[in-house]
Symmetry: C2
Subunit: 373 residues, 2 copies
C-alpha cells in the first residue's frame, strides 16, 4: 500500500501520527505552506526545505489556467516541474471557483466559470477536477466540493449534498494508484449538517478526510465548535486535514481538538505585507521602532532569517521595497509554524500538550494586551 | 599591510592576480554583483555565495539616503548589516548624483542635490563621501568623482580636473586603515584626457585604480579604445577596476585588455526583465517557444537554476508574475559571469586567453546571426 496512516500517540483529542506517501513520510501534526502557482512565493525549493516543510500545497484552479495541467504533465508532473521531491497536495479548485462569485454558475453536474486572468469560460466537474489533478500528479488530491458562505442554512444544505454526490463521483473517476484522494466535509456553521457531512465522508472510506468551509468569515468560536462536532464523528485511523487554516493560535487550538494537517497562505502573505509571526503575536516590521534594532525578528527563533539578520536590516529592506524582505519574512514565518507543530507533536508524544497549549494561550493573550499588534 | 595585490600571471595585456582584503582574497579577473541597497536584489547572501561571487558592490548614494550611513554603522557596518562576510566595495555616489541631472548643482567644492526619494536637499563633498564610506565600512571605497556625458570636450576637461582635485581631498580625508581607497580615471572619449587622468590617478599611489565614465552612452569601440589608452599608462602592480561594465562580451574584451575588476547591475536587472545571459547571447525566457521546453536555461551551465529547473517552469514563473523568476534568473546570470571570469583567469594562467577570446567571439557572433536575441 502506497499510503498508510499510523497513529503514534494521542493526548486528549490531539494526535501524533505518520502518513506515508510515495514521496516520503509526513509527521503529523503538520503545516503545509502554499505554492499556489507551483512556487511558494519568493522561495526556492531549497529555502522551503530550510523552513522544515515536508508537504506543499499547490492550487489546481491556478495551475489548470496557467501553465495548464497538460504542460505540467508533459514536464514530468508537479514534483519535477517545481523541483520539489517531497509530498505535494493539490486542492480541488472548489474554493477558488466558488470565490469567483458572480463569475461562476453552479449546476448539479459541475460549475461553469470565467477565468480571473482573461475572462475565458471554463467548466469544472468532479470528473474533470480529478483528471486535472491526475495530470498534475500530487501525492494527495482533493474531492471537488462546494464551499458556501457559512451562515445560509438552505444554501449550505444544498451545497453539502452536491459536495457529497461530487465526492462519490470523484471516487469513481479516480484512476491513479499513487495518489490519495481525500474527501471534504462541508456544512457551514450548522452542527447537524457538519455531523451529517462527517458521517457521509467518513463512510466513503478514503485515506484522509478534510474539513472545508471554515476560516471563511465565521467567528473563532464557531470554527472551533465545528471542529469539535466533526471530530466526534471521525474515524481515528485517518488523517484529518483542516483546509486553509494557519494562524499560530488557530493551529494550536485545532491540533488540541484533533486536527493533523493544515495549509494556509497566511505565513507567505503576511511576509509580503512585512509582518512576522511569533508565538506571542504579529510584528509589523516597518514600524519606526525597529529602525535601529539589532535583534532578530524573534529572539527565540533559530531560523535562517533570525540567525543572520537584524530587525533594522529587514525593516530597511521593507522600506526600500526590496524583494528580499518577502523572502526573509517568508522563511521565518513558515519555519515558525513548522517549529510550532513540531513542538506540539513532541508534546503529544510526551502527554503534555495541555500545558503547552495553556502556556501558548497565556503568552499570546498577554502580548495582545501589552501592545497593538 | 591589510591590502596587497599579487600579479600571478600575464597573457598579453590580460592579467591574473590576487587582491587581499580584510574580509578575504579576491581572485582576479573578478565580477562583483551589485547590492545597491545592501542586498543583491532577490537573493539571500547564501544564494549570492552559491553564484560563486566573492566581492559585492553597494551604493553609497542609496545607503546614505536610506537607511542612512549612521544606522548602518550603528548596526555594525555593512558586512554585519547585510549578512555578507566577504569583501565589499562601495562606490562614491558620484555616478548616481550626476545622473540626477537637473536635480544637482556642481561647484568646485562638491555637489548639492535633491533626493530621488523625497526631494530633500543634500550635499556631497569629497570629505563627506569618504566619511560616509567609512561609516558604511566596506573593504574598498571609491574617491568622489564627476562622471560627465562622454562627448563634451570642455565639460570633460573641467570634470576631470575636479575629479583629480577631489581625489586628492579624498586621500587627505581618509582615516581608516582597514579600507582601500581607489582613485577614478575620467576623461570621456578623449584619449589625451584619459592619458592625463590615468597618469594623475596613478601618481596618487593608491592600492587600486578605477576607470569611470565608460559604458555611459559611447560606442563599444570607443569604450575599448579608452581602455587601451588608459592601460598603457597604468602601473602593473595595482588592480584595475572598470566601473559599471558587466555584459559577457564586454567582460571578455576588457579582461583581454588588462582589466581586473568589474561590477554591473546587468545580470540582476536582466533577470528581473526575464532575460538569461549565455556565452552565446541573451535569451528572453518569456517566449512562447519555451512553453514546453524541458531543458535548462543554458544546457552548458551547472548553476543551481540550470541544474534544477526547466525553461518551461521559469517561463511559467515569469508569465505568472512570480518573484521566484527573478531569483532563479539572477542566480543563473551572476553564476554565468563568475564562471566566465574564472575561465578567463585559468586561461591567463595557462597562456591561452587568446584562443578563449576567439572562441567566445565566434560563438557570440554566430548566435547573433542565427536569431534575434
Amino acid at each position: 500500500m502506497m499510503f498508510n496512516f499510523k497513529l503514534e500517540a494521542e493526548d486528549g483529542a490531539a494526535r501524533a501520527g505518520r502518513f506515508t506517501t510515495p514521496h516520503g513520510e509526513l509527521l503529523t501534526p503538520i503545516f503545509a505552506p502554499v505554492g499556489t502557482q507551483a512556487t511558494v512565493k519568493a522561495l526556492t525549493p531549497s529555502q522551503v526545505k530550510l523552513t522544515g516543510s515536508s508537504l506543499l500545497l499547490a492550487n489546481t484552479y491556478h495551475l489548470y489556467l496557467r501553465p495548464g495541467a497538460e504542460i505540467v504533465q508533459e514536464m514530468g508532473g508537479l514534483h519535477t516541474f517545481m523541483g520539489w521531491n517531497g509530498p505535494i497536495l493539490t486542492d480541488s479548485g472548489g474554493y477558488q471557483v466558488f470565490s469567483l462569485a458572480e463569475r461562476r454558475k453552479v449546476d448539479p453536474d459541475g460549475v461553469t466559470f470565467r477565468s480571473h486572468i482573461d475572462g475565458s469560460e471554463h467548466r469544472f466537474t468532479p470528473e474533470s477536477v480529478v483528471q486535472i489533478q491526475e495530470q498534475l500528479g500530487a501525492d494527495i488530491i482533493m474531492a471537488f466540493d462546494e464551499c458556501p458562505e457559512p451562515y445560509d442554512l438552505n444554501y449550505n444544505q444544498d451545497a453539502m449534498r452536491r459536495t457529497h454526490s461530487w465526492a462519490e463521483r470523484c471516487v469513481a473517476a479516480k484512476t491513479r494508484e499513487d495518489q490519495a484522494l481525500f474527501g471534504i466535509i462541508q456544512g457551514g456553521i450548522f452542527s447537524d449538517l457538519r455531523q451529517e457531512s462527517a458521517r457521509f465522508i467518513a463512510n466513503l472510506d478514503l485515506p484522509g478526510i478534510a474539513i472545508g468551509g471554515l476560516s471563511v468569515g465565521e467567528s473563532k468560536e464557531e470554527m472551533l465548535g465545528m471542529i469539535e462536532v466533526v471530530e466526534a464523528e471521525l474515524p481515528k485511523d485517518r488523517p484529518r486535514y483542516l483546509m486553509g487554516v494557519g494562524a499560530p493560535e488557530d493551529l494550536v487550538e485545532a491540533v488540541y481538538r484533533g486536527i493533523d494537517i493544515f495549509d494556509c497562505v497566511l505565513p507567505t502573505r503576511m511576509a509580503r505585507n512585512h509582518t512576522a509571526l511569533t508565538r506571542k503575536g504579529r510584528i509589523n516590521i516597518r514600524k519606526a521602532a525597529f529602525k535601529r534594532d539589532p535583534s532578530p525578528l524573534d529572539p527565540a527563533c533559530p531560523c535562517y532569517t533570525c540567525s543572520q539578520f537584524s530587525r533594522a536590516y529587514i525593516r530597511h529592506l521593507c522600506i526600500a521595497g526590496e524583494m528580499l524582505a518577502a523572502t526573509l519574512l517568508s522563511i521565518h514565518n513558515i519555519f515558525m509554524l513548522n517549529a510550532l507543530t513540531a513542538d506540539m507533536r513532541i508534546a503529544i508524544h510526551e502527554g503534555r500538550l495541555e500545558s503547552l497549549v495553556s502556556e501558548f494561550r497565556a503568552g499570546f493573550n498577554r502580548h495582545r494586551q501589552e501592545e497593538d499588534l
